[in-house]
């Protein structure tokens, strides 16, 4: 079932949690709401669930207006960060809860409840824990039970609020890929909230990057990582180097390097910031006659297949270190050690005119 969010706004006192948000969740997809804390992602999820009411705007389920529907009637499965399992009930009763509270005529027979609960426990691979109580389970097990409980009522959409946020790194990783596989089997429309970019990029079909109550970008993990729509997305997703540059009529300069800037043909003597990913910087030992930037190697981290270099530009007031990632083979060719002089050149960059003199918004400029 598809979800549509139209012009949603929500205010908590003077704090704007959601600012005119529009979003389409396609039927059967796994969507991540990604953003720092306070970006409004959890509020958006809770409004979709009906646990929070928006000040204005609409939520549509499968094209039908659900804005005024009570949580009970929305048929959403909700998974909380801290599991919210019922302590006084066994695992079995926790999962059976949604079936047992149904009005008599819709309530399945006891045998069928038993059957369905055990099937779900089997699905989350914890059927052997049916008679235990929540406090006897580990965090990862509890979250899987919480998921089984949410699925028991056969929800039309599944909403997960930082589902792995309270778990340690190893369990997190396991559950992450497990959730992905589960989703591939069930194809239930799912939205999950996370502040962990790796989690969002790894699990989701599409990622919604949020900041300060607005959506910064919506796209596949590849799109948001490779073509960030704004400086915020660039900095939030992965490491990035910032270079000061000059922008003039479709051309840009970083030091002596001149590049095309076809997105900014009308720019007149603007300062801009060039964003370059660490793996998109070429490193050479010699100048080769090309326009390059001279830098010194200040740190080498050569663990794993990727070697991370930390460089500082020579003859420059700008002393922020430059992060560069090269392959181990390239590193062996160059035979770099700390203190060496190198010449670098960005292979690919994105330009965002500075805010104080911008002629157009950075987001629109792309």
């Amino acid at each position: 079932m598809s979800i549509e969010v139209l012009n949603l706004s929500k205010q908590f006192g003077s704090f704007t949690a959601l600012h005119d948000v529009n979003l389409q969740v396609h039927s059967g997809e796994l969507l991540a709401l990604l953003g720092p804390s306070g970006s409004g992602k959890t509020t958006l999820l809770r409004v979709i669930a009906g646990l929070e009411t928006a000040d204005s705007g609409q939520v549509l389920f499968h094209g039908e207006d659900a804005t005024d529907q009570h949580v009970r009637e929305r048929q959403v499965g909700f998974v909380f960060q801290h599991y919210a399992l019922f302590r006084n009930m066994t695992i079995f009763e926790n999962v059976a809860f949604g079936l047992r509270v149904r009005p008599k005529k819709f309530r399945p027979a006891e045998a069928e409840i038993r059957d369905r609960v055990m099937k779900l426990l089997h699905l989350v691979q914890l059927d052997w824990l049916a008679d235990r109580y929540p406090h006897q389970l580990s965090g990862g097990q509890r979250q899987r039970i919480a998921l089984a409980r949410a699925l028991a009522v056969e929800p039309k959409v599944l909403l997960l609020d930082e589902p792995f946020g309270a778990l340690d790194a190893k369990v997190r990783k396991e559950l992450r890929s497990w959730l992905r596989r589960l989703h591939d089997d069930m194809h239930i429309t799912s939205v999950f909230v996370t502040h962990d970019q790796e989690e969002a990029l790894e699990v989701a079909d599409r990622v919604v990057v949020m900041n300060e109550g607005r959506i910064e970008q919506i796209g596949t993990p590849d799109e948001v990582y490779e073509q960030p729509a704004s400086p915020f997305v660039y900095e939030f997703l992965g490491n990035v180097n910032l270079f000061h540059s000059r922008l003039h009529r479709g051309r840009a300069w970083i030091g002596d390097i001149e590049v095309d800037a076809p997105d900014h043909p009308e720019a007149e003597e603007l300062t801009a910031v060039a964003y370059v990913r660490p793996h998109e910087i070429e490193v050479e030992r010699t100048r080769n006659g090309e326009a390059v930037l001279a830098a010194l190697v200040v740190h080498v981290l050569s663990v794993g297949p990727i070697v991370r270099l930390e460089l500082v530009r020579k003859n420059d007031v700008d002393t922020t270190p430059i992060q560069v990632e090269i392959s181990k083979e390239r590193f062996r060719e160059l035979r770099l050690v700390k203190g060496d002089e190198v010449f670098i050149k960005p292979r690919r960059l994105d330009l965002f005119p500075n805010h104080h003199n911008r002629t157009s918004d950075a987001v629109q400029a792309r």
Binding site: R72, H82, A84, V101, H135, R149
Partner: protein, 277 residues
């Protein structure tokens, strides 16, 4: 010693345990055992005659019956008060919160006099109740009212913190699973509150059994009708019948102990099913 002493980084186990035992002995056990020793002056037959006279039997029924009823009423309405204080925001909430402790702080005699003045036939409330056929002051009903009054804070103050700790996420989870408010309360919230409610009930019950000051003013103290056991004990003391007084005390002590033990067992059983992680 080392067989049951576990190694701990907290020092002073021996000293702390020794002090605890000494303190409990001095404050609780020795005075209580004095009652038993004093009673031992009586033969079993004398003891049995004193503690089973019809007047004394009537007082047991009244004391334990009214205390139980009052604690029960407090459990229900104390829960309600705690609920309102935790869940809702309204002007004057702090004041209401403070009012709850009043029966606790007030000298019980003051409470007794105030209640008697209110519920007597010419009192503010009594003048309306009496024509309707409810005689409160100087009847067992009055005793029940006084015991309810003094027991209220115990239930409210034990339930309140537990209710505050119940995450709203639990209720939200129940709602997303399709439960209505009543189902959420009976299946999710109440079971979580139950151990605390039992504690509050037990405390209110225990307090009511031992209550003397507020009751004697409103009870009328008619033998066989509105005479509580603590009053009988005082009466015997005033007649220098120390052995008789301690005999009644011993009976009250044993019954109270058994009742509290039962409540504790119930509590332990219900808590075991829902321990916090």
């Amino acid at each position: 010693m080392s067989t049951f002493k576990q190694h701990s980084i907290l020092p002073g186990f021996n000293l702390a345990l020794g002090f605890t035992l000494l303190y409990l002995s001095l404050i609780v056990l020795i005075p209580l055992s004095a009652a038993f020793i004093r009673t031992a002056e009586l033969t079993w037959l004398e003891f049995w005659t004193i503690v089973t006279t019809p007047r004394v039997m009537a007082s047991y029924r009244l004391t334990f019956g009214a205390s139980f009823a009052a604690a029960l009423v407090n459990a229900v309405f104390g829960l309600l008060v705690a609920w309102v204080l935790v869940r809702y925001h309204f002007p004057g909430k702090k004041l209401v919160d403070a009012l709850v402790d009043l029966p606790f702080a007030l000298p019980t005699a003051v409470a007794g006099i105030a209640l008697t003045a209110l519920y007597a036939g010419n009192g503010w409330i009594g003048q309306f109740l009496e024509p309707m056929g409810f005689k409160v002051a100087f009847t067992p009903l009055g005793i029940f009212v006084a015991l309810t009054f003094i027991g209220l804070p115990f239930v409210v103050r034990t339930v309140q913190p537990v209710l505050e700790d119940i995450e709203s996420e639990l209720e939200e989870a129940a709602a997303t699973l399709g439960a209505n408010r009543w189902q959420t309360f009976t299946r999710v919230i109440f079971p979580a509150l139950f151990p605390a409610l039992m504690t509050g009930f037990a405390l209110a019950f225990a307090r009511a059994i031992g209550e003397y000051g507020s009751v004697i003013f409103i009870a009328g103290n008619m033998p066989m009708i509105s005479e509580i056991t603590p009053l009988l004990i005082i009466t015997k003391l005033e007649q220098y019948d120390y052995a008789g007084a301690t005999a009644l005390s011993v009976v009250m002590l044993v019954i109270s102990f058994i009742l509290l033990l039962i409540i504790n067992l119930l509590q332990w059983w219900s808590r075991r099913r829902s321990i916090e992680s």
